[in-house]
Symmetry: C2
Subunit: 359 residues, 2 copies
DNA sequence: GCAGAAATTTGAATCGATCCAACAAAAATG
DNA sequence: CATTTTTGTTGGATCGATTCAAATTTCTGC
């Protein structure tokens, strides 16, 4: 009785089918994976037995071990899982990754975790052939963790200068210059910068020291781009307030409060992400400050949402979807080489920027 | 020489470490999975050897086979992968699923495929502990395919009446009645229905025969709800045009063309999804037909986007996130039982509905 | 210094498949 | 009818780990 019950609970294995059908496990395996090389009569018999015993088909867990390849790519971030579905930048990126995966039939495994410890575990135990890393905050830690798996991986939004890891990013300096020039040409001379983090966990006005010691060189490059270009228009960049935020609502609003509490509020804001730019538009509008009549804003990223809001967001657009596609392809066609690609960016002028107020 | 080169290429296994460190595989395994039971001295030695040989840590492929549990849930649909990141309903649902997975540290594997054959393969080979199925079109096929894996699964947006599968859905009849009553009470008497599919691949005006033979009972129930309630207000429901679409732009627009080509155009539209409702608003506005002054629209689903567009969409809101959470929990805490849950819905009145024109 | 308890370590068995060299049977060829 | 080909089947080896009962070592207390 007991053995009968146990038999019920235990899932049926290929070997059980083979035994019941009176063939070797080799043949039974072939029935499922290469049916054409098995004699029709045998094939049908085995299939019938499998059907009758309620066999679920070859367990991918077993196959995997033998085959070695999972046929899935992991996408990891330090944010919670919902980030992939909420954040417009992430979503656009995932769109590109999806496309590449759809084309080759690969799957996508989302990896993230509530805390650092779990993140480490999740990366160690993810069943994937490689990783795409969304390096937002804590990007360097994510890279370190992933490196240990010794699987191919590519860092997105690179940020930090580690030439030994594959990465795809954009020309931050060029993009920043485009943004700055656009505003300068509209006559703006008083600026503020809503900056991404220079190092983990920081927030508040950034000093030159902080900028020099930047862990995230992407942030540093954007700032450098802004300043270089503005300097060419005779702007004293040392006077420009640079507020470091975490690319979310709370700290961005805090930054705006701080910036507009100053004596000479800016007529133009350079935001290092569209997310922050959109929050800024919202904040300003709620305070009766008109965009772009009173204050102009340029974002950075080119997320689809920027086209839909009112006013439409002027921004430096990255080829987000294309970056996603390429990242996925890098993992899928991995050849062992380290690749670093820098994509071009483009100024998209919409309604959030306008001529500076006279006077 | 050759053997040396081969040694380079072949990844290092736990057994290699054990041999090099002069311990058994059992001990080597313990060093990584339960370090506390290994004597400190031995532990450090093994770790040092592992480090020095460039061991990537225990391969999850091997562990998996032994452990049996993947600690990930698969989310499957017949749409392309990008659906998960584009579609507002799917995104809201994924938000709920993410939450539940984050809470337990489980991963999410996205499963989909370009064609039916690949879909079958992807479902067969997905490394997951269970599935959540997005049953849009082709839902019944998706369920059949998944059933073969003999893993726990739950169907979302149930639709069809198969009492043997776990599912979470909403009270379609009640929701539809709420929508219909709202419009009727506003004085509307001329209606049109933008319907979801009654069976796969259909599009165009639905006849009573089609409705009776519905494969997707969810669609049928919503229609029944609309009609029941309207009948109570004395509306002749046999005159109401019901256009079946595929819940995307093209066929929805075709439906609107067809509906407004009729002699007596409706003053109110009952849309079975917010997606279609939003497309309808867009289509009408583009034609100079004012919403809600000329035509009122009620959607169904309650996606976040409905609150943001202009005019805000009046809709029947499902507790989407909560459904996602529950679905994930069903898989994570699976106990072998078949569960069918029906969630309540709620009428959310925004600006897309207004009093019927006099006359 | 020794028995007995406690802490470590061992190594075979197992998870569920696929692969492949060797063999057997059937078919084709001379 | 003997010989070569072709076709189909077999069963052991392997993928990379974990587990657990048994063996061994170390520690306690006297």
């Amino acid at each position: 009785m007991a053995s009968l019950l146990e038999g019920q609970a235990r899932p049926i294995r290929l070997a059980d089918i083979a035994r019941a059908a009176g063939v070797s496990h080799g043949t039974a395996s072939n029935v499922f994976s290469r049916p054409e090389i098995v004699r029709a009569e045998v094939r049908e018999r085995v299939k019938a037995v499998a059907e009758q015993m309620g066999y679920a088909g070859p367990d991918p867990k077993g196959r995997l071990l033998r085959a070695g390849k999972v046929n899935a790519i992991g996408v990891a971030t330090t944010e919670p899982l919902s980030y992939f579905f909420d954040d417009p930048f992430a979503r656009a990126m995932m769109g590109g990754i999806s496309e590449a995966c759809d084309a080759t039939g690969a799957g996508i495994a989302l990896v993230s975790a509530a805390n650092q410890e779990k993140l480490a575990w999740n990366i160690q135990s993810a069943l994937v052939d490689g990783f795409i890393l969304f390096c937002i905050e804590g990007g360097s830690r994510l890279v370190d963790l992933t490196r240990e798996r010794r699987l191919p991986f590519v860092a997105l939004e690179l940020g930090f200068q580690d030439e030994t890891v594959s990465a795809i990013g954009v020309d931050n300096v060029a993009g920043a210059r485009l943004a700055a020039r656009h505003l300068a040409e509209l006559g703006h001379r008083r600026f503020a910068v809503l900056s991404l983090a220079f190092a983990d966990g920081r927030t508040g006005f950034a000093t030159p020291d902080i900028v020099r010691g930047a862990l995230y060189t992407g942030t540093r490059d954007r700032l450098a781009g802004y300043f270089e270009e503005l300097a060419r228009f005779g702007v004293d960049t040392t006077k420009i307030p640079v507020y470091e935020t975490e690319n979310e609502e709370k700290s961005t609003r805090a930054g705006l409060e701080a910036i507009f509490a100053k004596d000479e509020p800016p007529t133009a804001i350079l935001a290092m992400s569209d997310r922050m730019a959109l929050i800024a538009i919202d904040w300003l509008t709620a305070r009766g400050i008109k965009v772009p009549q009173d204050v102009s804003i340029v974002g950075f990223d080119g997320v689809p949402d920027g086209a839909l809001c009112t006013p439409g967001l002027t921004t430096i657009a990255q080829p987000i979807t294309e970056i996603g596609r390429r990242a996925a392809r890098m993992i899928l066609d991995h050849d062992g080489a380290v690749r670093r690609e820098t994509m071009g960016v483009e100024l998209i002028v919409r309604a959030s920027t306008g001529p500076a107020r006279k006077g």
